[in-house]
């Protein structure tokens, strides 16, 4: 598998998801599109200056590279960021552990905001199009990326997702990353904002246990606050741990199930969404 772009026969698959397809199905149903391997594999921009040190006595030469391992991903992420900026689109990289409620949050957000702001979704999962079907029912344009063995989305996958979605100016693209508090932290996708969704059922210690993920969050959403009466969870202790890892990140509490606290999240999104041209 090409680790940098995720392409392989058994690896990444992009599923475009559309409405009914004429043989009586009542539910939205994902369709598999062919994988077009149309990007540059020459890796032209990967290396800075190369310095060759003369051969030693055994005929071996040392070649100085001083090259970032993730340089190609970072360049593709910069391309995505520029593409989004030119079109006036807000892209949010939503990351969490599995089961924190990312899809439920996006379903409710789409239902509540889509009359005012167009929302499209890039769904990242190792397998299945279950989340894409849920988002389609909620009313968003959606593309599902199955990473196969991969544990995160990367910038090349997002580029393919954006080409498939073709989102309009002044809209929001929600990128639901693979449920994982470790690997997605390393891969810049080109998003304008990183949101980490935590949930009360995960316990108070997660920011301290997964500092790389929380350190780079612009916003931390604490979900499932409707369950607080039933579980042992101290919000002050959670906030204290989060501050040790990232003193600048904003923390909002909400329940994507009941809707409590969602307005602050919507305000946060609206403030960052570009105004579409007339």
């Amino acid at each position: 598998m090409c680790a940098t772009c995720g392409c392989s026969s058994g690896g990444v698959r992009v599923l475009t998801v559309g409405h009914g397809h004429g043989h009586g199905q009542r539910h939205p149903h994902p369709h598999l599109s062919d994988h077009e391997h149309d990007h540059d594999h020459e890796h032209q921009r990967e290396f800075t200056d190369v310095h060759v040190v003369p051969a030693g006595p055994e005929g071996e030469r040392t070649i100085e590279l001083q090259q970032k391992v993730l340089a190609k991903n970072d360049q593709l992420a910069a391309d995505n960021r520029q593409w989004l900026h030119e079109r006036g689109i807000l892209a949010v990289n939503l990351m969490s552990s599995p089961g924190a409620g990312k899809t439920t949050l996006l379903e409710r957000t789409t239902r509540d905001l889509s009359s005012k702001i167009a929302i499209s979704v890039v769904e990242g999962d190792q397998e299945t199009a279950l989340d894409a079907s849920r988002m389609l029912r909620a009313g968003s344009k959606v593309v599902q990326i199955n990473t196969g063995a991969g544990c995160h989305l990367d910038a090349q996958m997002l580029a393919r997702g954006l080409r498939s979605l073709n989102p309009p100016a002044g809209s929001i693209v929600m990128i639901e990353n693979v449920g994982n508090l470790v690997c997605p932290a390393l891969f810049d996708l080109g998003e304008q904002a990183r949101v980490v969704l935590a949930s009360t059922t995960e316990g108070t210690d997660k920011p301290l246990k997964y500092p790389h993920m929380f350190r780079q969050a612009d916003l931390v959403l604490l979900n499932k606050i409707d369950l607080l009466p039933y579980i042992d969870f101290d919000i002050r202790e959670y906030a204290c741990g989060l501050r040790k890892v990232t003193p600048d990140a904003l923390l909002l509490q909400l329940s994507a199930t009941t809707g409590d606290g969602m307005d602050a999240w919507y305000d946060w999104l609206r403030r960052r969404t570009p105004v579409p041209p007339d």
């Binding site: 598998m1 090409c2 680790a3 940098t4 020459e42 890796h43 990967e46 290396f47 190369v50 005929g59 071996e60 030469r61 040392t62 070649i63 100085e64 590279l65 001083q66 090259q67 970032k68 391992v69 993730l70 340089a71 190609k72 991903n73 991969g150 544990c151 995160h152 990367d154 470790v182 690997c183 932290a185 390393l186 891969f187 301290l208 500092p211 790389h212 350190r215 501050r243 040790k244 890892v245 990232t246 003193p247 600048d248």
Partner: protein, 109 residues
Amino acid sequence: MHELAITEGVVDAVTGRLPDSRITCVRLEIGALSGVVADSVRFCFDLVTEGTNLEGARLEISEPPGLCCCRVCGINFEPDGPIALCPCGSAEVTVLAGQDLKITSVQVG
């Protein structure tokens, strides 16, 4: 385990640049605050290089410690572990070093 993808990225980068050279040694820098576990990269390296022009190459990894500057008390300090907390208790720090993840050089035979 993102170290597998990271190690594949290393091999991709080196073979893309030096496709016809037999690589005998790869030198990486994995900073203490990079989020990558050097031992996991070592674990993956032989597997990932098999069948490439890096097969059999030696892997040398340097692991420079993190260095942070506290924005409250102004001192520079090496964080103890991945959480950058100043000895004064402040978490408001600027990371100065230890986040790099790069291929420093390769040796060709």
